[in-house]
C-alpha cells in the first residue's frame, strides 16, 4: 500500500466511524450519512416535495460541498469545467435518486446499512454490482457523453454559493409561508425529525467532503475500476467504510443483524436489488456515485453540479409521484419507474457512443 492507498483507507474509516457517531448524536438509524436521503430531506425542507416525514435542511450536504471546495482550493484543483452532455446528466441524476429511494439509500448508505447488520442491503449490493457491470459494458463499447470544456468562474461558484445559502437557511430557519408552516419545513416525526446538532452535522460534512475530494472516493468507481483494469484503489475505500462503521456500531451497541425491523429499510429483496441496479447503471454513465457528484460539484465541476440538481429534482419527483419506498415496501409506481429508468439509462448507454 502506498501513500494514496492509505489516504483512501483512512478516508473510508473516518466516514464509517463518523457515520455511526452521527446516528448516536441524532441522525436516523444507519443513516449517519446518505447523499440520496439528505438531498431528499433538503428538497423536502425547501418544499419541493411535501412528504411531511422527510423534510430537514441537512447541514451535511453544504458541508460536503464546501469541504470539497476547500480541499480543491488547497490542492489547486478548483476549476470551472462542464458542458459534457448536460441535460443527459440531469436525467441520470433523476434516475440515480429514484433508484436510491426505491432501495432506501445511496451506495454509501448501502455500506452503512451492511455495517449496521441490515442484511437487506446485501440484495442492494448485488443489484448495484450488476448495474455497474451493465454500465461497464456500455463503457467498453465506446459510451461517452462528450468532452467537458473550461468554463467561467461564475459557473464554478454556483454550487458552493448554494451551499453557503443553505447553511444560512439552516442556521436561521426562516418560515417563508407561515400559513403552510414553511418552507423551511422541518419534520415533526419520521426520519426528517431525527438529526444531530447543526454544528456537528456541518463539521462532519466538511471533514468528509475534504477527505473524499483528496481521496477521489467514489462508490460506483470501485467495482467499475476492478472490472475494467483490476485496479483495487477505490475498493479499499469500500472496505474501509464497511469496517469503520461495523466496528463503531459494535462498540456503540448499534449493530443489529437481520432482515426484519431494520431502520428505514424494507424487506422486498427484488426491489432492493432493482433499485440499486438502476443506481449502479446511472452512476457509471454519469461518471460517479451520488457522493462523488456532490464532491465534484464543490470543486467547480458544473457537470457534477447539474447531476446533483438532477438528484434534487429526482427526490421531488419520487415523493410527489409516490415512487419512493417506505419501510412497508416499494410502491406500484416505484416498481414501474425503476424498470422505465433502467430501459432509458440503457438507451442512453447505447445511443451516446463515439463513432
Amino acid at each position: 500500500m502506498d501513500r494514496k492507498d492509505w489516504l483512501v483507507v483512512c478516508t473510508g474509516l473516518v466516514i464509517g466511524v463518523l457515520a455511526a457517531l452521527l446516528v448516536k448524536w441524532g441522525n436516523p438509524g444507519n443513516m449517519g450519512l446518505c447523499i440520496a436521503c439528505f438531498l431528499r430531506d433538503t428538497a423536502g425542507a425547501l418544499g419541493l416535495h411535501r412528504a411531511a416525514i422527510v423534510q430537514y435542511l441537512r447541514p451535511e450536504i453544504p458541508g460536503l460541498i464546501l469541504g470539497a471546495a476547500f480541499a480543491a482550493l488547497i490542492g489547486r484543483e478548483f476549476r470551472s469545467k462542464g458542458g459534457s452532455g448536460t441535460i443527459v446528466r440531469f436525467l441520470l441524476g433523476i434516475f440515480m435518486m429514484i433508484g436510491a429511494l426505491v432501495f432506501l439509500g445511496c451506495p454509501l448508505r448501502m455500506l452503512l446499512r451492511l455495517g449496521g447488520g441490515d442484511l437487506n442491503a446485501i440484495l442492494g449490493l448485488v443489484g448495484f454490482v450488476v448495474g455497474i457491470m451493465a454500465g461497464v459494458e456500455f463503457l467498453k463499447r465506446g459510451f461517452n457523453l462528450g468532452r467537458a470544456q473550461n468554463g467561467s468562474l461564475a459557473g464554478a461558484l454556483i454550487m458552493p454559493f448554494i451551499a453557503v445559502v443553505i447553511v444560512f437557511l439552516a442556521i436561521y430557519q426562516p418560515v417563508f409561508n407561515a400559513e403552510a408552516g414553511g418552507p423551511i419545513f422541518v419534520s415533526a416525526k419520521g426520519p426528517g425529525s431525527l438529526f444531530a446538532p447543526l454544528a456537528i452535522s456541518l463539521a462532519a460534512g466538511l471533514v468528509v467532503g475534504f477527505l473524499a475530494q483528496r481521496a477521489r472516493l467514489c462508490l460506483s468507481g470501485g467495482v467499475r475500476d476492478y472490472a475494467l483494469t483490476r485496479d483495487t484503489y477505490l475498493l479499499k475505500g469500500y472496505g474501509a467504510i464497511f469496517v469503520g462503521v461495523l466496528v463503531a456500531n459494535l462498540i456503540l451497541g448499534s449493530f443489529n443483524l437481520g432482515f426484519a425491523n431494520q431502520p428505514i429499510a424494507h424487506t422486498d429483496g427484488v426491489w432492493n436489488f432493482m433499485g440499486m441496479a438502476l443506481v449502479g447503471l446511472a452512476g457509471i454513465l454519469a461518471g460517479g456515485c451520488p457522493l462523488r457528484q456532490l464532491i465534484l460539484s464543490g470543486q467547480g465541476d458544473t457537470d457534477g453540479g447539474i447531476t446533483v440538481l438532477g438528484m434534487v429534482a429526482g427526490a421531488a419527483i419520487a415523493h410527489n409521484f409516490m415512487l419512493a419506498s417506505s419501510p412497508d415496501g416499494p410502491t406500484f409506481y416505484g416498481k414501474i419507474i425503476v424498470i422505465i429508468g433502467i430501459l432509458i439509462c440503457a438507451g442512453i448507454g447505447w445511443v451516446c457512443r463515439e463513432a
Binding site: 494514496k4 459534457s84 463503457l139 468532452r147 468507481g221 475494467l228 485496479d231
Partner: protein, 70 residues
C-alpha cells in the same frame, strides 16, 4: 509523435479506458493528455500497475502530458 491519447475533458473512467486501449495497441511510447488531477493519478496508476515507466510534465492551464515508456 503519433501515439497520443487526448483525454482532456473526459469524465471518469474514459481517460483510463483510452490509455489501456492504446497501451495494448502500440509497442512504442505513448503520450496521454489529461486536464485534471484525478485523471492524472488514474492513468499513472494504470501504467505503473502494468509495469511501465511513467514521466509526467505539467503544462500551463492545469494540463499534463503523461509519457508511458514501454
Amino acid at each position: 509523435m503519433s501515439n497520443v491519447v487526448d483525454a482532456r475533458g473526459l469524465s471518469c473512467p474514459l481517460p483510463v479506458i483510452k490509455t489501456k486501449a492504446a497501451v495494448e495497441k502500440y509497442d512504442e511510447e505513448i503520450e496521454v493528455l489529461v486536464d485534471n488531477n484525478t485523471a492524472l493519478e488514474n492513468v499513472t496508476r494504470l501504467a505503473k500497475n502494468k509495469g511501465f515507466e511513467v514521466e509526467t510534465k505539467k503544462n500551463i492551464g492545469g494540463e499534463w502530458q503523461i509519457f508511458i515508456h514501454k
